[in-house]
């Protein structure tokens, strides 16, 4: 799992490995983060997820070795 910008600062973490049950949904990653970092709860409604560098919905089914990215609202440009 990779975290960016405000999500990275809230969790004080840019990258970590997470063990999940087989066929977990991508959104489970956010449950984990909210449990570990209460401050993440406020950010959560605005987070978008990506798996292997493509945006996905939170019900996307994860596979072993997938890279999940936690992406706050973007502000490029």
């Amino acid at each position: 799992m990779r975290l960016f910008a405000s999500a990275k600062e809230v969790a004080k973490l840019s990258e970590t490995k997470v063990e999940l049950p087989i066929a977990s949904r991508a959104g489970v990653v956010l449950d984990h983060l909210s449990d570990s970092y209460p401050a993440m709860t406020k950010l959560r409604p605005f987070i978008r997820l990506a798996v292997n560098e493509a945006y996905v919905d939170s019900d996307f089914t994860l596979h072993d070795g997938d890279e999940v990215a936690v992406l706050p609202p973007v502000s490029g440009g």
């Binding site: 960016f4 605005f46 945006y55 990215a69 973007v74 490029g76 440009g77």
Partner: protein
């Protein structure tokens, strides 16, 4: 061509990258660091990117532009790291046979970049710093990746 760089965006290189004999015009957009934001003095900006995904989505925008408009060439460059006041964080150049296509394609590219490409900016003030959120990114269909809004 799409690129993410850590140094200054050189406008002459940006222009050179799209020069083509079939072009009748080149449209350039530069996004530059402004010294104020919502009434606060901005000292500088820091940009962070999820680089491999950002490059993919910038490439996706380039493909969409080429499908929608008859253009000769397009370059999209984003700078990351610190971008001081007055300097460019993003540069887009579009060369096309006619100016209408160049203007429209350039505008589409910057609008879509701001909406979906995973890059973030942090505004640094005298008394703190804040991660910014683009209004476009907060819309319901923000970043769907298909450019459906047209």
């Amino acid at each position: 061509m799409v690129k993410i760089v850590e140094q200054s965006i050189e406008t002459s290189e940006l222009i050179d990258s799209v020069v083509s004999p079939g072009a009748g015009g080149i449209d350039i957009f530069l996004g530059t660091t402004r010294n104020t934001s919502k009434g606060k003095d901005v000292l500088t900006l820091y940009y962070e990117a999820y680089v491999p995904m950002a490059l993919k989505l910038m490439g996706e925008i380039e493909r969409e532009v080429r499908e929608r408009w008859k253009i000769s060439a397009i370059t999209i460059i984003h700078r990351i790291g610190e971008v001081p006041v007055t300097e460019a964080s993003v540069g887009i150049a579009v060369a096309a046979p006619h100016r209408k296509e160049a203007f429209e394609a350039c505008r589409y590219a910057i609008d879509e970049l701001k909406r979906r490409v995973p890059i973030w900016k942090k505004e640094v003030y005298k008394d703190g710093a804040v991660w910014v959120e683009n209004a476009e990114a907060l819309m319901k269909d923000g970043g769907s990746g298909e450019g459906k809004r047209n």
